[in-house]
């Protein structure tokens, strides 16, 4: 048996199998080792898949050797390969951090359950990115969602329960919409294979049920990706979840949902159906812009840093969706590049906030006064990530902004160019609230002796901070993959 041929299956099976094993092992050390090894192995698999896709094009893998479109197909193309690498890479960085972090935040007797849920969530997210089957996609979406409800509810703050419940309600509504959409498509096409669906939909003449399916899927997925104004669940979920969970979900969950949206729009319905026959461009443009401005403005007035950066996420999702609304190779390149760039930046940011939580005992602006003096490295890392959010050249955020502006210019829409740059000025405003709190105030008397974050928290966090800078200077992986994926989605080369 050739192992290399089964890499796509391993991608999901590794974390999926690790979850129940972690529960059986029960010991928190053993569970940690097992899940971390599984995540690292999954990361290695995703890199191998990415290399393989780059070298020889998309990979199709029939689960249980049942040939598609009857069996479930796993399909890795340039877009899914990038997403897999992102999800597994973030998990591989966050897990070592989680060990040091949940030590302070969770009761010891639930640690093994935390690792099990984390593994499940990873399996679900990776599954969404790899599967070529619409119903299978829904199943993985539910796996990742259910596990993330649990992960959020584990938060130390009692408000975490309410946040998880809120997310559960909204997430379930979203999932229902998605399953209705998938059902309608199945009804019309008689297939669940995404590629096959795409082919059959091109031959359709009657549109009404297909349009309904499009509407259901758009609303359902938009809920999951927290597109403004369907973002209500996100700030609380990010704010009250355990630090490691905030970081992992902020970096991956919404990104994978964007992937699902791209997949349905461009691989199933087709660009023509979504953007040429319907005013989806305008709709997405307006919602994206509203998200960019409203959420940024709300972020400026937050007192809790986790909430502040959660609202910033909603705004950044606006950028991502804005790229889709351009319906051009450059626009999609911006979207896909920003998926990755924002994931590493925001992941790093939430990891650093976890370190702040550990040191200062909270992340409100009043509490982090003078953190530049007591935790200089952590504070500086947050500033660097903040610059990434603003899109300062030399950080990953700049690269995404470049392509967004270029896409707007290609369409000759100067007013959009100015809106894009203006919204990044709002980011300056909210990032600078932290800067002024950190460097222009003396630390609170009882916090003046706080020490710098321990290595177990600092090293993973700085790995992502480093990636934020790295992807701002060397864009061959991010933009290279994004450009290939964008060309593929719009029907160019794979």
């Amino acid at each position: 048996m050739n192992l290399a041929a089964h890499l796509p299956a391993l991608q999901v099976v590794l974390p999926l199998a690790a979850a129940p094993l972690a529960v059986l092992l029960r010991g928190r050390g053993a569970a940690f080792m097992l899940v971390t090894l599984a995540a690292w192995a999954a990361f290695a698999v995703s890199i191998l898949l990415w290399l393989q896709v780059n070298a020889s094009g998309p990979i199709s893998y029939a689960i249980g050797s049942w040939a598609p479109p009857w069996g479930i197909e796993y399909r890795v193309d340039s877009l899914s390969a990038l997403l897999l690498m992102l999800v597994c890479g973030i998990a591989a960085v966050v897990l070592p951090y989680a060990r040091a972090s949940i030590e302070r935040e969770l009761r010891q007797d639930v640690h093994y359950l935390f690792y099990a849920m984390f593994a499940l969530c990873l399996a679900g997210l990776a599954g969404i990115a790899i599967t070529g089957d619409a119903f299978n996609l829904f199943v993985f979406l539910e796996i990742s969602s259910l596990s993330s409800y649990v992960l959020i509810a584990l938060g130390r703050d009692r408000r975490a329960l309410v946040a998880a419940y809120q997310y559960l309600i909204m997430g379930t509504i979203g999932a229902t919409f998605i399953v209705v959409g998938v059902g309608l498509l199945y009804l019309k096409t008689g297939t669940l294979n995404l590629a096959d669906m795409g082919v059959r939909l091109q031959e359709m003449t009657s549109h009404r049920p297909v349009l309904a399916a499009l509407a259901f899927l758009t609303v359902g997925i938009s809920l999951k990706l927290a597109l403004f104004p369907l973002h209500q669940w996100l700030p609380n979920a990010y704010a009250y979840a355990p630090s490691a969970v905030s970081a992992f979900l902020a970096a991956t969950a919404t990104k994978v949902s964007v992937y699902a949206l791209l997949r349905f729009y461009f691989s199933v319905f087709g660009e023509t159906a979504v953007f040429k026959r319907l005013p989806m461009e305008d709709l997405m443009l307006i919602l994206a812009l509203a998200g960019m401005f409203v959420a940024s403005a709300v972020a400026i007035f937050q007192h809790d840093l986790k909430r502040l950066f959660a609202y910033s996420s909603v705004a950044q999702i606006g950028y991502i969706v804005l790229g889709i609304s351009f319906d051009s190779v450059t626009g999609l390149t911006a979207t896909i590049a920003h998926l990755v760039n924002h994931a590493v930046t925001k992941g790093g940011l939430f990891l650093l906030l976890g370190a702040v939580m550990a040191g200062m005992g909270g992340v409100t602006l009043a509490r982090v006064h003078g953190i530049g003096r007591v935790m200089p490295l952590t504070a500086f890392g947050i500033v660097l990530c903040g610059l990434g959010l603003i899109g300062v050249p030399g950080t990953a955020g700049f690269v995404s902004k470049w392509y967004l502006i270029l896409a707007a210019l290609e369409k000759g829409q100067w007013w959009l160019v100015f809106l894009i740059v203006a919204s990044s000025l709002l980011a300056v405003a909210y990032v600078w609230r932290f800067v002024e709190a950190a460097y222009f105030h003396a630390p609170r008397a009882d916090l003046a002796t706080v020490r710098e974050a321990p290595a177990g928290l600092a090293i993973p966090a700085w790995t992502l901070v480093g990636a934020t800078i790295w992807f701002g200077l060397d864009t061959s992986v991010t933009v290279g993959s994004a450009a290939r994926a964008a060309a593929m989605l719009l029907g160019g080369a794979p």
Binding site: L406, V421, L425, V428, V479
Partner: protein, 487 residues
């Protein structure tokens, strides 16, 4: 050493120096030695590039490809050479001065101060040597961010508010205008590499061309064109050495340097014909309006700040005239104003350190107590007004000749009127210092000159201001080469 390595060495030296400064933070004497050694090494690197550039070499260095076709790259051309010489040469003098000032005033966080200073110089050199607009933009933004801790050095509420204005205006203009200008240039020309004669190649005209020019000119907020000049007086909350080197030399000169560079190497003098008249008017207005504000300012640093705003617009005006002579004047003025204005700021800081005075009205008779300082101040003032035997005369001469050659009488009138205004707000200070009697109150607080390193530094720059009048050969040669492409 090959010229390419010299570029890398010039950019890397301040970075290595910054690490050295950080490592020696426990022993201030060592730390200052590191700063001075680094500054000297940097000047050597930059000076070693000069003969080659004068002989027509254009050493280039490609660091990395950030986006497809868009490199972080460096190339040394005459104008950048001039700016780099000015910035690195004055860094040494300024370091000497800083040591006297920071110790004399018992400033806190001195290590951070010296580190940020070294990094700011590195960013300024990155701007000077940038081979394309993209690289220029990267270092331009870095310079803003690195100088922010310097501006807000005191950490007080006043410093924080000054910092807000500083950062808000500089980042605001660069993000709102410069970034779209950069992407638009890339979109239109397919490149952002600076090239003699411009890179737009006639692909834009009329409104689009004037619009792009406006985006660049207002986007380069460091050039302090009105109405985006407020950051400069706001930045005066910084310790005086910061005002001196950064807000008289490195930062503001990075602004006007970029203006000249963009006009010459992106648009090309011929390519802009007819599209830059509005800029002459805006720059002219800025020159006069800022001079009027300076005339009414009693705070010495504020007066100097508005004088800087006005002098910067000379460069913009000269570039906007598009006449070869005036553009040479613009390049010369970068060097001339740097030397003169740093002298003036040094003197202001020396007065503050020795006498704790900040207002012009307090300076009666101070020239007799601080003859070296006020003598240097007088030289700097002459240079600002544009009188011989100071460097400002040479650059103003070229600008005026250019304006006349272009028959641009509005520009001629602006230059003449502003010369009178300059005299109106500088000469009274000199007169007051030397010819008014010391007030009764001051008689009871005797003081002499500021610490020796400071006096030495400001005498040196004053001497430089005079020297540049008598032998402006090197800057002149560089400025002329910029227009001819090759010698």
């Amino acid at each position: 050493m090959a010229a390419e390595h010299l570029i890398l060495a010039a950019l890397g030296t301040p970075l290595v120096g910054a690490v050295g400064i950080a490592l020696s933070h426990r022993t201030p004497n060592w730390r200052e030695t590191v700063t001075l050694t680094t500054a000297a090494a940097l000047l050597l690197c930059v000076a070693a590039l000069l003969p080659g550039v004068l002989a027509g070499a254009r050493p280039a260095l490609r660091l990395m490809e950030v986006l497809p076709g868009l490199d972080l790259a460096f190339a040394v051309e005459p104008l950048g050479m001039l700016f780099a010489l000015v910035a690195s040469g004055l860094w040494i003098v300024n370091s000497l001065y800083s040591i006297g000032y920071m110790r004399g005033n018992d400033e806190a966080n001195q290590t951070r101060f010296y580190i940020c200073f070294a990094l700011a110089i590195a960013a300024a050199l990155g701007i000077a040597f940038s081979a394309n607009v993209f690289t220029l933009f990267v270092f331009y933004e870095l310079l803003t961010l690195i100088t922010y801790p310097l501006v807000t050095h005191h950490g007080s509420d006043k410093a924080r508010n000054g910092g807000r204005t500083y950062l808000g205006l500089l980042v605001g203009t660069s993000v709102l205008f410069l970034l779209p200008a950069l992407v638009f240039t890339w979109h239109v020309a397919g490149t952002t590499d600076f090239a003699p004669g411009g890179i737009l190649g006639g692909r834009l005209d009329g409104l689009a061309l004037a619009g792009l020019l406006a985006l660049y000119m207002f986007g380069l907020g460091k050039a302090a064109l009105m109405p985006f000049h407020r950051w400069l007086p706001a930045a005066m909350v910084a310790p005086t050495p910061v005002s001196a080197l950064l807000h008289a030399v490195a930062v503001v000169k990075a602004g006007v340097f970029s203006v000249v560079k963009v006009v010459v190497y992106v648009f090309g003098l011929d390519g802009l014909a007819g599209s830059a008249d509005w800029l002459v008017a805006v720059a002219g207005f800025t020159i006069l309006a800022a001079s009027v504000v300076a005339l009414n300012a009693d705070n010495l640093k504020r007066r100097l700040a508005y004088s800087t705003v006005s002098q910067l617009s000379y460069v913009v005006l000269a570039a906007a005239l598009l006449a070869p002579l005036s553009v040479v004047g613009a390049a010369l003025h970068i060097a001339a104003h740097a030397l003169g204005k740093i002298t003036l700021f040094f003197a202001a800081g020396a007065i503050y350190t020795a006498a704790h005075k900040t207002e012009v009205s307090q300076l009666d008779g101070i020239g007799r107590r601080m003859p070296w300082t006020m003598g240097a101040f007088a030289v700097g003032a002459l240079s600002m007004i544009g009188l011989p035997p100071a460097a400002g005369f040479v650059s103003k001469w070229y600008m005026l000749s250019g304006a006349m050659a272009a028959s641009h009488w509005l520009a001629v009138a602006v230059i003449v009127v502003s010369t009178l205004l300059n005299a109106g707000y500088f000469l009274p200070i000199v007169w007051r210092a030397f010819f008014r009697p010391v007030s009764a109150e001051d008689e009871r607080h005797p003081h002499g000159e500021a610490p020796l390193p400071m006096v030495f530094a400001l005498s040196l720059t004053a001497a430089g201001t005079l020297a540049l009048f008598f032998s402006p050969d090197v800057p002149l040669a560089l400025a002329q080469q910029m227009l001819r492409g090759l010698p």
